[in-house]
């Protein structure tokens, strides 16, 4: 589903964010990216939805080399790749329902489609009863559920989560991770960049540790401290 071949990324300021990254993530897989701040986790995620282009090597998503993907096709790639952020990135002046609908509306979905799919998605993430509320009226966990619903409403093949529990308490973090596991069980490939040791250790999924932009360790059913002795 996602393939990195000898990928390198150097930012214009000279910082080497990724070096010689070779990584294959299978269809329907659940993977944790771990490592300290500035080790390249977010940069790696951004290469998958082509927010940034690697300076060397090649990234493939769903059999398509992103190197050869014309700029006009990037929006269609992004409809296959949902993204969830630590700070939720919800539109505060829109309701929960409208935030999810927005992702459909801007991709040209019909209003019939919007009315059909938004409630289903809110049901899936467990906040259907808060549809008319605004994000600032929700708890952090509920806001993250709203953001997840928005990223899933276009039926992406892949869900990228950049520190999805970074602003949440342990109990809410566990709920969010359980939700991501359920989404993964339905077939979506999920990649989670995180510092949250407890969820990584509890879920025992594939863990890839990044260090100085390189893949230091890669382990099935791994734990947070793989490769750290």
């Amino acid at each position: 589903m996602i393939v990195f071949r000898d990928v390198g990324l150097v930012y214009p300021n000279g910082v080497h964010a990724l070096s010689n990254v070779d990584l294959e993530i299978g269809r329907g897989e659940f993977l944790f990216l771990v490592g300290g701040s500035g080790q390249g986790k977010s940069s790696l995620l951004k290469c998958i939805n082509r927010e940034i282009d690697p300076t060397s090597g090649c990234v493939e998503v769903d059999g398509v080399s992103l190197l050869d993907l014309p700029a006009a096709q990037i929006p269609f790639l992004r409809r296959k790749v949902g993204v969830v952020f630590q700070d939720f990135k919800l539109l505060q002046q829109k309701t929960v329902w409208e935030n999810v609908a927005y992702a459909l509306q801007v991709t040209g979905a019909s209003s019939r489609d919007v009315v059909r799919r938004v409630p289903r998605m809110l049901e899936l993430v467990g906040i259907a009863h808060k549809a008319k509320m605004f994000p600032y009226e929700l708890s952090g966990g509920e806001q993250q559920r709203n953001a997840i619903a928005r990223s899933l409403v276009n039926n992406p093949l892949i869900l990228l989560c950049d520190e999805p529990t970074g602003n949440l308490d342990p109990e809410t973090s566990n709920e969010i991770m359980a939700l991501l596991a359920r989404i993964n069980a339905k077939g979506t490939t999920v990649v989670v960049a995180t510092h949250n040791q407890s969820v990584v250790d509890r879920m025992r999924r594939r863990v890839v540790r990044l260090s100085n932009g390189r893949i230091a360790h890669d382990q099935e059913r791994g734990h947070y401290h793989i490769g750290l002795g």
Binding site: P75, L77, R79, V106, T107, G108, S111, R112, N154
Partner: protein
């Protein structure tokens, strides 16, 4: 998962009221996000349109006056005495076939004398003159008064023509005034339009920055560049159109208030307000407002999208 899964809505191309409502809500949101700036831009467009309309109005009026005055330019070619009729016919044929020439009229010496007698009747008795000293002549009307000099030169080169006269100085002075006024007017209009475009550009730029969070989300969920652009482009068009409409309203009020007074109080001014195509000017101003607004906003949002 996989092949059965579709990322595109099945009826993605269907236009429905929900989509239309969503689109206009986005445009309205753009407008209200920077209301002060949007109103300033509309006001500037209105002022530019008032000035542009005034210039266009006086330009058109002056041009019509010029056509009336300069259009009377005639070239008189006096023929050599005793030129045979066949040679005169030949000269007429040559001038009639000239693409710059509108009409060629032959005035015989007798017709010229009769005309002179009529003109001087009661002032001078020409009956005392036994002979007719006036030559045969051709009166040539150019299609474009600007060609009068070159047609005169051509006539001078013809064997039957003795002398050529036309009101060259007056014609050329008027044409020169028209071209200078035209160039100055065009320069002022170009500067005004550039200033207006710059203001709309900056207004849209502020809206774009104010909505950068939405734009980022749009891009992340897979909105195409045109989906992002359209609401801003429409905002630009609406700004231009609204400003132009206000400007036209002001011009209309001013026209009805001042035009009759100018025509009566300052009759020596070379303007003819009654025949100016006011409707055409209004359409030109509306189109200018819309096009300037559209181009400025497209430039503004495209520049932002390229940078992001």
């Amino acid at each position: 998962m996989g092949a059965s899964r579709t990322t595109k809505s099945e009826d993605i191309t269907t236009l429905d009221w929900g989509k239309v409502r969503f689109f206009w809500a986005e445009v309205a949101q753009n407008f209200t996000r920077n209301l002060t700036m949007a109103l300033t831009a509309i006001g500037t467009v209105a002022v530019s349109v008032v000035l542009l309309g005034t210039i266009l109005f006086f330009h058109d009026s002056f041009e019509l006056f010029m056509k009336q005055v300069v259009g009377q330019v005639t070239i008189a070619a006096y023929l050599k005495d005793k030129s045979p009729q066949s040679a005169i016919d030949g000269t007429m044929r040559v001038m009639k076939s000239d693409p710059r020439v509108d009409t060629v009229t032959f005035i015989s010496k007798k017709q010229a004398m009769d005309a002179l007698r009529n003109r001087l009747r009661g002032q001078m008795n020409l009956d005392v003159i036994n002979t007719n000293p006036l030559p045969d002549a051709l009166v040539v009307h150019p299609i474009d008064p600007a060609d009068a000099a070159s047609i005169a030169t051509r006539l001078r080169g013809l064997p039957t023509v003795a002398n050529v006269t036309y009101r060259s100085e007056v014609t050329e002075k008027l044409l020169r005034i028209e071209s200078v006024l035209g160039a100055v007017g065009f320069g002022i209009v170009a500067l005004l339009l550039a200033a207006t475009a710059l203001l709309i550009y900056n207004t849209i730029r502020l809206t774009v920055f104010a909505r950068s969070r939405e734009i980022r989300i749009m891009q992340l969920v897979g909105a195409t560049r045109w989906t992002v652009r359209w609401p801003f482009v429409f905002e630009g068009i609406l700004t231009g159109l609204t400003g132009a409409l206000i400007g036209i309203g002001l011009l209309d009020a001013a026209f009805h208030a001042f035009a009759p007074k100018i025509a009566i109080d300052l009759p020596f001014l070379p303007f003819n307000f009654t025949v100016v195509p006011v409707g055409t000017i209004a359409i030109e101003l509306l189109a200018t407002g819309a096009v300037v607004g559209m181009l400025a906003s497209m430039l503004s949002v495209s520049r932002y999208l390229r940078a992001s």
